[in-house]
Symmetry: C2
Subunit: 331 residues, 2 copies
């Protein structure tokens, strides 16, 4: 089967009007007046961002979901995406079909369409890239640089399940002791991150700055510090963990060590944001109304760094705040 047939069979049904049935070499979009377009791009490399040998609906779901968390953080509604696939020549039609099913599922959950893309063959690892396009009311995109000293810092969902998901999928001995139910939970957290898209309108109304948690809670908070020119005090005990996360950290020799791992590992795809202190009650109301937990974890202060604080107000030293490419860490 050639590239064109492959695209026709499996991808054309995913295309919106903008993708012209994938029969053109470009996609065309008539922007809605009064809206800005927001672009995000994330790439997954086999053996780096997902385990070797996979190319299925799980990979497709993960690809779109990790991009959707960027849009959610910006307050943007997804409208479409472009897809780049670098695939080994030995890829099988059933794999493409399964991958397309994963795309389709996420598209229908969040109501957006495939605009186009390209497919190439590679003799290296499979690499999949999506460029997501979303929109926000003109001038309203939430940036990283809008945090102010005195603002409160919030995070959606739970932090650390990204790490547990990775360890479980990689069959790392670290999660061997978890029950089968807990392991399933972790695998799902890995393959199906849940970007907090329903909180979009709340973020647009109230967030002064926001970002998603992809490189690690502390590292991503630091990017806000850097461009907002301030520091942050984060209370470790306030960082929300899931029941599985609390259990895992609790059974480790050093619970502190375990928690530090969880808040620096990344892959959570939750949203961190800052708000003026008087917005606290409305944030809490929104959150409980939607049934999506949002937790206050600290405060913006004068300074230039994220400081992690314990219950007695003492700073906890953190040797390495997050995942950095082109360095020593592997995953």
């Amino acid at each position: 089967m050639d590239e064109f047939e492959l695209i026709r069979s499996y991808m054309a049904p995913l295309a919106g009007g903008e993708g012209l049935g994938l029969q053109d070499d470009a996609a065309v979009l008539s922007p809605e007046p009064g809206y800005d377009l927001v672009f995000t791009k994330d790439t997954l490399v086999e053996g780096v961002h997902f385990p070797e040998g996979y190319f299925d609906q799980d990979v497709a779901q993960r690809l779109l979901r990790v991009n959707l968390s960027d849009l959610a953080a910006k307050g943007a509604k997804p409208i479409g995406y472009l897809l780049s696939l670098a695939l080994p020549k030995a890829i099988q039609p059933y794999q493409i079909s399964d991958f397309a099913n994963g795309l389709k599922h996420v598209q229908s959950l969040y109501d957006f369409k495939l605009f186009g893309g390209d497919t190439v063959s590679t003799n290296g690892p499979t690499i999949v890239t999506a460029t997501l396009i979303g929109n926000v009311p003109s001038g309203k995109m939430i940036k990283r640089n809008g945090a102010r000293i005195g603002d409160e810092i919030w995070v959606t969902g739970a932090i650390g399940d990204g790490l547990l998901g990775l360890l479980t999928v990689m069959e790392d001995a670290e999660t061997d002791s978890l029950s089968p139910e807990f392991r399933s939970f972790c695998e799902l957290a890995y393959w199906r991150p849940q970007p907090p898209m329903p909180l979009r309108q709340m973020l647009l109304n109230w967030a002064s700055a926001s970002a998603d948690v992809s490189d690690g809670l502390l590292a991503d908070l630091e990017t806000i510090c850097r461009v907002s020119h301030l520091g942050m005090d984060i209370n470790l005990e306030d960082v929300p963990l899931s029941a599985v996360g609390r259990h895992w950290a609790g059974q480790k020799l050093s619970t502190l060590e375990a928690k530090l791992q969880m808040i620096t590992a990344g892959d959570d795809y939750q949203v961190i944001f800052t708000t003026s202190p008087d917005a606290g009650s409305v944030i809490t109301a929104f959150s409980s109304d939607l049934g999506l937990p949002v937790t206050r974890i600290g405060k913006c202060v004068a300074g230039s760094d994220v400081r992690l604080i314990d219950q007695s107000g003492q700073e906890i030293p953190v040797p390495n705040k997050g995942y950095v490419h082109f360095q020593e860490k592997t995953r």
Copy 2:
């Protein structure tokens, strides 16, 4: 050096306002009223679309230029792009710097900016992807499906230098006999394709369908046939070759074989388009005014295929009309 520092140092100066200095996790664009946005995406894989071991300004130029030809074919003016880099860990800062210089050069030639992107490390070949964003007056994008029976078929520039460029860069014995000057010409054709952007307005005004020549002249014409539901008669003798191309084909045992290779090899990044027969004189006038050659090579007819015709009106059989991924050919 970490990923962030790398991006800050080399890529931030390339970013427009939409890229927010690459300090955010998204780019934001306020679309110009009255315009549609056009998206194209092309990927280059080391060892497939450029020779192994390269990561320099040549690769950057080729990446942007092969995407620009798609925009030119659609009648779209480039405004920005997103860049995905999958790089080996051993990549050196001077290589990133050189690559960035290539991006900068093409950006300033065609007046568009970097909006954002992402960088990952890979243990396979280097893979670079660009998503280009252009605009056209609302509803005016030139599609592949607008050709009508009776329309004339045109091509910009010369066809076949893409093949000679590839053979030269790959140090294939096929181009050993060329003079050093001719070999330089071929290398330049490979690394610096010249998308016929200045013809954009002419295409917007007069083209009924268009596409760029990336997979091979005949294969790309066939995509227009397929979606416009017609056939094409192409006169081989009318297909424009460069002086180097004519020389190369002339010295081969079979000039016909050589020409067939040139019109099926791809990588030309010129534009093919169709027009109503009464547009001939205005097309010629535009072309000579801009000093950019445009050549009439055939006619749209009833049918479903591209037929290659010789001077006596006989059909020339063509075993394989173009480059197809996931099949037998390698390059």
